[in-house]
Amino acid sequence: MKTSPLISEALSPEKIMEKIDILFYITSAVAVISTIMVITRYHAVHALLYLVVSFLSIALIFYFAGAPFIAALEVIIYAGAIMVLFIFVVMMLNLGPRTMEQERGWTTPAIWIGPSILSAVLLVAFMTVLMNNPAEDTGLNLVGVQEVGISLFTEYLLAVELTGLLLMAAIIGAYHLGSREKKIYHRYLEKTDQ
Amino acid sequence: MISYLRSIWIAFSHMFKKRETYEYPEKKAPLPARWRGRIILTRDPDMGERCVGCYLCAVACPVDCISLQATEDEHGRRYPEFFRINFSRCIFCGYCEEACPTYAIQLTPDYEMSEYNRQNLVYEKEDLLIDGQGKYHGYNYYKVAGLAIGGKNKGEAENEDKPIDIRSLIP
């Protein structure tokens, strides 16, 4: 049996589970708090930073759940690449104190009511599901990289292919949008429409 | 690609070349005799001051770092009452040396003039005047230009030519 990287040989399985439970709750608390901070910040970049922290804690939760590969990918792709792009864009927008004031005007307490009710409904549904059939203790079965690869290329082959197609379309689209027409770099040689 | 590798190789091969650095306080760079460094005032072979207080150096100086005041001794010979060079302004261009008609002001190959206090860079006449002839040995301005003594004007003594009339074209 593979051992989780958290486990050193000295500890008994029960102790380890306890440890992981504590770590899990701490990480979850961080995730929840940082996500709340994301939606309450008026400053866009600060909000994005809290979102990064939230992604990191989610990655850690994946790691505790025995999926280190997904954890690493979460950090590399979400926290490392996509959020950098977000910050990149926000950076370019040059948001100042003026936009923060604007934001403050937009997020009045009245606006919170709708989303809060909807998410409360979701929470109630989630809780009932959890109460009625408590998740069976899966223990620590580690999903290694090879298992992920094998399942991706056998069971979910169609999904992988479709994702590939989608990404290809995105790349071609980006290329088309990004490419410029060939320009003649001399004003006398430039063609002008009469 | 080849050119990148080539430039990497060239930089690497410089490991075995001679180094260009002079390790300064221990080893000094050899300076040419005409190096324009610290300014001095020189004396003629009779140990009289060469400077006649003509102000040409102060006029020629592009940064106005020279100031002097001419005066005369009891024989009517001109000399500077004070002579002051502010080396924190001086750019060591050497125009003063070129302007000087008596070879009094000269630039020397000495560049070690750093001071902690900027005011110490203002050199007075006693700091500038040396007991020597500098670069031009044996030159005595009055021996060349002549001197009026004892009721005789320039060119009236024995074995003395008349001074050249600089306002005439005739040789």
Partner: protein, 319 residues
Amino acid sequence: MNVTLKTALIILGVPFAMLSLAAGLIWVERRLLALWQDRYGPNRVGPFGLLQVLADMIKIFFKEDWIPPFADRKVFVIAPAIVMSTILLSFAIIPFAPGIIISDMNIGILFFLAMSSLGAYSIVLAGWSSNNKYALLGALRGSAQMMTYEVFMGLSLMGVVMMTGSFKLTDIVLAQQHIWFVVPQFLGFVIFLIAGIAETHRLPFDIPEAESELVAGYHSEYSGMKFGMFFVAEYLGIILVSALITALFFGGWLGPGFLPGPVWFFLKTFVFIMFFILLRASLPRPRYDQLMGYGWKILLPLSLINLLVTGAIMMIYIN
């Protein structure tokens, strides 16, 4: 020895050793650059100028730690901490010798890639929070460059991972007992080297901080120890990439038996550190668009071809 004590020693010792190595590297770099430029470099403070590092450290510790009034204070302060912590965390996976490794996790390489991609934040945030044109331009260039080069940094390593069948760095080193991976994965090695230089934004690719164009790029506004952290992190990055090249392509601690493993590891790493400095001494900085074009148009296809060929050969070889 007690297992816990040994672990604690390694956990404390590796970052300490790396930090002091990085500080020493400043002296090494200055001396080597001088050597390749026909100069002497720092040779006054202590024997061979070795204490220059100490003098510089004292100086930088006692400098005024100035936060500009127009900066975003909190972000300005955490930005240098991010780069330091991500790079120091990356050292957790470097196997210096059998047993001398902080965490031999089974996603070792992925962990390194994750940390290096998080390192991009420090540049972006430092540039943005400085609220300065040059810093922002540096941050833009830096983030674009790092994200570009991360892509095929990961792809170039996949050949090695395929040949080993594991992301674990100790497994990768042990798989090189017969032949170093630099021979079958030469293309991967070259691409990783180039991407490593770009990732640490070292000199031929120091686009984000290009002195002659952007003053100092993203750390224009930094002073004192905050600047020192960026500076030391750059050297830590050099050590990290050199150590990874050693572990992934040059057989890590493996070597003829007359020297112990860690010494071999250190020697090989040092050769690559020297190579990095040699690159700085010899190559000019490319233009920004040239760098990006070079990455996407040449290195990415090359790394994909490398992956494809490796996979094909492995399939033929195994079946």
